[in-house]
């Protein structure tokens, strides 16, 4: 286990070290101490590295992650795991806005709550939030799965494409073209697997599924009020 102290190491050195280790030292483990809300921590990793950030992070922690496993013991600022390609990112605390934005793969687990626009424009990532999420989650979400054990704020899934949303608690309101969907056996299986991988204590049967009504997929003037 390598330890890097951000109190004495610069951001560029930290990321360069982690990026090189991800490429060249498969499955090595690193602990980052004293993050103190620094931005762009552990970004652009491209390999099976194991990183633990002891504390809270600023913007874009774990951005564009590929294959690495990154755990933040505190909370994460805006855009955590943005555009993640693969691997796992776990936030023990809360996450600010845009968590998992445009993510294309991998698993993002938020053990606390997530703020607004969680999963915005997601393109294949799986996101599991143990707590609740704010407004405009999964806006223009294209692919992937968003699982929320708590409640969801206003305009969930506005202008959603083919992503699937699973919410156990209350949904304040659904956004344009988002509707509740039938929960079929394959969805329960998918949810069971996601919950298990995210270490979430919940039963798939407790959730409701939401997705695109596909009414806005092709422009039609009679739908102008919805745009």
């Amino acid at each position: 286990m390598e330890v890097i102290d951000l109190a004495t190491t610069g951001l560029r050195d930290l990321n360069a070290t982690l990026q090189a280790a991800a490429r060249e030292r498969g499955n090595a483990a690193y602990t980052i101490e004293n993050p103190r809300g620094a931005h762009a921590l552990a970004v652009g990793l491209d390999g099976p590295l194991d990183v633990t950030v002891k504390g809270s992070t600023g913007y874009y922690c774990a951005g564009m992650n590929k294959a690495a496993s990154i755990r933040v013991t505190g909370s994460a600022g805006p855009g955590v795991a943005e555009n993640m390609m693969s691997g796992t990112v776990t936030i023990e605390g809360d996450a600010s806005q845009y968590a998992g934005a445009t993510g294309r793969g991998g698993l993002l687990v938020i053990k606390g709550n997530a703020s607004s626009r969680c999963g915005i424009s997601m393109k294949g990532i799986d996101i599991v939030v143990h707590g609740s999420i704010g407004h405009m989650a999964a806006f223009m979400a294209q692919r992937g799965n968003l699982v929320v054990l708590g409640d969801a704020g206003d305009a969930l899934g506005d202008s959603i494409y083919e992503a699937q949303l699973f919410v156990r608690g209350r949904v304040a309101s659904l956004g344009a073209d988002c509707e509740e969907k039938e929960m079929r056996p394959e969805h329960l299986d998918l949810l069971r697997d996601l919950l298990a991988r995210a270490g979430a204590d919940a039963r798939p049967e407790e959730f409701r599924r939401y997705g695109s009504a596909r009414r806005l997929y092709n422009f039609h003037i009679d739908h102008a009020d919805a745009y």
Binding site: A40, V43, Y59, N83, R117, I120, S121, Y161, N218
Partner: protein
Amino acid sequence: MDRTPMTDPRQSWTFSREVNAEIRRAAATGIYDIRGGGAKRRVPHFDDLLFLGASMSRYPLEGYRERCDTSVVLGTRFAKKPIELKIPITIAGMSFGALSAHAKEALGRGATLAGTSTTTGDGGMTEEERGHSEKLVYQYLPSRYGMNPDDLRRCDAIEIVVGQGAKPGGGGMLLGQKITERVAGMRDLPVGIDQRSACRHPDWTGPDDLEIKILELREITGWEKPIYIKVGGARPYFDTALAVKAGADVVVLDGMQGGTAATQDVFIENVGQPTLACIRPAVQALQDLGLHREVQLIVSGGIRTGADVAKALALGADAVSIGTAALVALGDNDPHWEDEYRKLGSTYGAYDDWHEGRDPAGITTQDPALMARLDPVAGGRRLRNYLNVMTLECQTIARACGKSHVHNLEPEDLCALTMEAAAMAQVPLAGTNWYPGKPGF
């Protein structure tokens, strides 16, 4: 003579035949007109400026003999690997999806042959484009279609698109007929649906956030790549200043004549400022910050000739970018296809329904039969020739003004033909030493 003299039938200027036709079209269909390209209305432009040339007080350089350099280096502020170009004319971002793969390949080939860069677009990076572009700028757009760290690392520069001259404040729409399996796959969307490109970035909301976003992109790419920020011609002084504040190496400024793949005609014609009106405020912002030439300025929107290039540079730009003109060089709107343009209800020179995917020239389409009409090798040669001609024209003017490098052109070399152009370019009206707003008058 038994006929009473009659007043000639008089068409209304306000309700012209063209205006009335659009009213009838709107009444029949219930939807606004969507089209490609940039503003078609007449606006003050580079045509309204002239170079003064050498005289008793200015010595010219000998054409064909004395050297007039055209090289430009972009990204010298922070990037470890700035882009070095042989000519100050780059190819603007245009998406695979809006354009065919052959067209993207031709743009890459032409740019490379001419010693300049080309740019991806909304839809990601294709192998055709990367493989044939020696220098490729990778656009970072609100949609993030196809965005991935591997392409970020294999590009030569990153262009964060905040706005576009044709539609400052607007997103985009690629209609379903152009969303083939390949296009849909690159964008993580179903085949055949209308694909919206967002107007705002999903994970930052202002210049303070953008500064951190740029930090992230630099960290991911090892601080090697120049970071451009592209803005539409809306508030060029403040947009430029804020782009610089956010950490841009290069500012790309796109006026309202700059093209788009598909947007509402009302948007294209009524939002944004002419390119000519944008340059001086942007240069002023850079000068006020003490960063003119350290942060490079690329101007686009309606650049057609070497004279346009020379005028943009004289007003303070470091380089220009072309999109529509490059497509015309490839064969867009060519009279060769006039019969087919007629069948589509248009005519060569006016065809702008690029979003429909039925382009007879095979450029703005994903139809395999139409695509095959564009030979990317021949298209690349045509673009190379055109870029070379523009460069020669620009050098011809620069030599006539006594400049050994095209970047030595300056506002003092210019005069304006109209009051509007004089005011926008802040150069004297021809025959005077005055322009509207000039201090001291």
